[in-house]
Amino acid sequence: MTDEEIYRKHADDLVRFATGLVGPFDARDVVADACLAAFRSRNWPAVTNHRAYLYRSVVNHARSHHRSTLRRRVRELRAATPDVAATSDVDVDVLAAVNRLSVQQRAAVVLTYWEDLSPAEVSVRLGISEGTVKQHLARARARLKELLDE
């Protein structure tokens, strides 16, 4: 399977995943950068689980991505169009909520609640321990609970 075929197979899922990590504005850039880096890596030929590798690459790129972009854009959206949440495809409140979480917490939440993966499966996908996944999930839930209870 060529790189392009691998990319086409996973691109939609990766963009959805990246949206969960950095929001819709930058998801495409993060995925493009992550995939390009993966394909160029000399590790790539030895990779057997392309999907997991690309997911991890997306997380890594999301982490190093402009950390405040999402926060700033939420502010800009609110300032520019106060009723944007009601009229646009961009759900500002959701973005604000996501902004409360670290990238790792977002990754755990998206894979758990969107892809319905168990902590063990999330740990394989992200290359971290199951305990760490549970820790990220617990803290994400605690953060979101604060927000949702407000």
């Binding site: 691109a11 390009l36 961009v90 790792q104 979101l144």
Partner: protein, 519 residues
């Protein structure tokens, strides 16, 4: 509640994913070249999988003999015939001869990390293995580093070191399922490596990336500080009344205060041996608790994230360090619980629990650690587990304050998980009155005193620094100067959300001023 919360988080996630854009086209090299900040990149020639395997074989042949002769990971995993064959080929190996001597190692996958990072590695199921590994640059036949893994069944810590003849590995064989933990060599240069069991049975490729501790110097003079006026001031006189604090004759106000989640104020009125709770609406609980000096002399206090009050003080038991009391807002008291704290301390509450830092941590001298006293659930930490930690945990992050030789204050924020630590360097003419990590991944709030002299007013600069792309953005606010002699040294500053509370004592009593940092 849990199901309901899960349902709401699921809905939130779905709403988020619904905003997902279409996938971009297959990323070509030209996409990178369009980015002004990215250098033109010539993609490295890909090494076919066989190349990795052959590289691993060569590497293993070169390292196996010293590794084995030095004790190796385990006698159980090496058969004698292999050892004998290798012993005669130490210096004359060729790819061909080695390939026949050593079976192709199993490459389990890829590892990523930064120098010095601790990572988990998962060995093959039930595979008998040692805890020793070699780290060899791709294309080299000589290891550059050795690793010893921490693993179930091995009573030792993860270690690393530069490869040298004579290095030894623990003679142990384990079969625990893992993952094992290794520390990637802290002095390794970024690049691609092979990480292999010393017996050569399996390897990982390792992509070691640039250490990405990001370091920024904050210039507190670059922009005119924005003067902050208090949003409100709560003042009270000296005395033992409901809304009085401290002892006028001595000029001592409350030693410390903190803020409850509903913005109520809690004062440890140590001079009057009592704990005061002022309700946010203006009422008070009078007093919330009292202490008998013959039994307990309180000297530090913090309100935990559970809204319980943690009070540290000395019990009247000679030779015994401070004890901890946990007091509910309803006046209930738990404790005293033993601690290892043996000097005046500064208590800080984080989402991870309650920590005590002695005076050295508070900003006047190099930090030497925080001692955990209670868990996030409010349970006292047993004395045996009260080991100092270098950084103050802040939720899943940590904040460490260091002092450079030139007097520069360095605030090191670890945003959490294995994200990139960020260092903020503050000029040395300031002293640190308080440091906080805000509820954002990469933002710290530092409260800096502008003068240490008792002869001139002490102003305060509040530096809120956060990462914007590759730069640090710092907002500097200024609070009008006060005489340092009028200010208590501990517990004088607290941050609750974006509200900064300053407690000070004046000639007429105590006041708490609330400043709102702009959103």
């Amino acid at each position: 509640m849990s199901d309901r919360l899960d349902a709401r988080i699921r809905e939130l996630t779905f709403r988020l994913i619904q905003m997902s854009p279409e996938a971009p086209p297959f990323p070509e090299e030209t996409m990178v070249q369009l980015r002004p900040s990215a250098p033109a990149v010539t993609p490295p020639k890909r090494q076919p999988r066989l190349a990795w395997a052959m590289a691993a074989v060569v590497v293993l042949a070169a390292i196996a003999v010293p590794a084995l002769l030095l004790g190796g990971p385990s006698d159980d995993v090496i058969d004698d015939a292999t050892t004998t064959t290798l012993a005669g080929t130490t210096t004359t190996l060729t790819t061909t001869t080695v390939a026949t001597a050593i079976p192709e190692p199993e490459i389990l996958g890829s590892l990523f990390g930064e120098p010095g990072q601790t990572i988990d590695i998962t060995p093959p199921d039930q595979r008998r293995r040692g805890v020793g590994y070699t780290v060899t640059p791709f294309g080299s036949t000589t290891p550059a580093f050795w690793l010893i893994a921490a693993a179930d069944g091995f009573d030792g810590e993860a270690q690393w070191g530069p490869w040298a003849s004579g290095a030894t590995f623990p003679d142990i064989s384990i079969t625990s399922p893992g993952p094992d933990t290794v520390i990637l060599p802290g002095t390794a240069t970024p690049g691609e490596y092979l990480v292999c069991q010393t017996d050569g049975s399996f390897c990982w490729t390792l992509q070691l990336v640039e250490s990405t501790v990001r370091s920024f110097s904050i210039d507190t003079t670059a922009a005119a500080p924005i003067d902050l006026a208090p949003a409100d001031v709560t003042s009270t006189g000296w005395g033992t009344g409901e809304f009085e604090l401290g002892v006028s004759e001595t000029g001592f106000g409350p030693c410390c205060f903190d803020v409850t989640s509903d913005r109520g104020l809690v004062f440890l009125d140590a001079q009057n041996q009592r704990l005061m709770h002022w309700l946010p609406g203006g009422g008070s609980v009078f007093p919330l608790a009292t202490f008998q000096p013959a039994e307990f002399v309180a000297d530090a206090m913090a309100v935990g994230h559970d809204d319980r009050i943690y009070v540290l003080g000395m019990s009247n038991r000679p030779g015994r360090p401070h004890d901890l009391l946990i007091i509910g807002l309803d006046g209930s008291v738990e404790g005293p619980f033993e601690t290892v704290v043996d000097s005046n301390a500064n208590l800080q509450a984080t989402a991870d629990g309650i920590y005590a830092g002695n005076a050295l941590v508070d900003g006047t001298q190099p930090a030497n650690g925080w001692i955990p006293l209670a868990t996030s659930a409010g349970a006292p930490v047993p004395v045996a587990d009260q080991q100092p930690v270098a950084a103050l945990p802040v939720d899943d992050r940590s904040l460490r304050i260091e002092f450079a030789v030139d007097g520069t204050i360095i605030a090191i924020l670890n945003p959490g998980g294995d994200s990139v630590p960020i260092e903020y360097h503050i000029p040395g003419e300031y002293f640190l009155a308080g440091s906080f990590a805000q509820n954002e991944q990469s933002t710290v709030v530092l409260v800096l005193g502008t003068s240490w002299s008792a002869d001139e007013p002490t102003g305060f600069l509040i530096v809120r620094a956060s990462i914007e792309g590759e730069a640090v953005v710092s907002e500097v606010y200024r609070i009008a100067g006060r005489s340092w002699a009028e200010m208590g040294p501990f517990g004088t500053v607290r941050l609750e959300g974006s509200s900064l509370f300053f407690m000070s004592t004046t000639s007429s009593g105590t006041e708490v001023a609330r400043y709102e940092l702009p959103e």
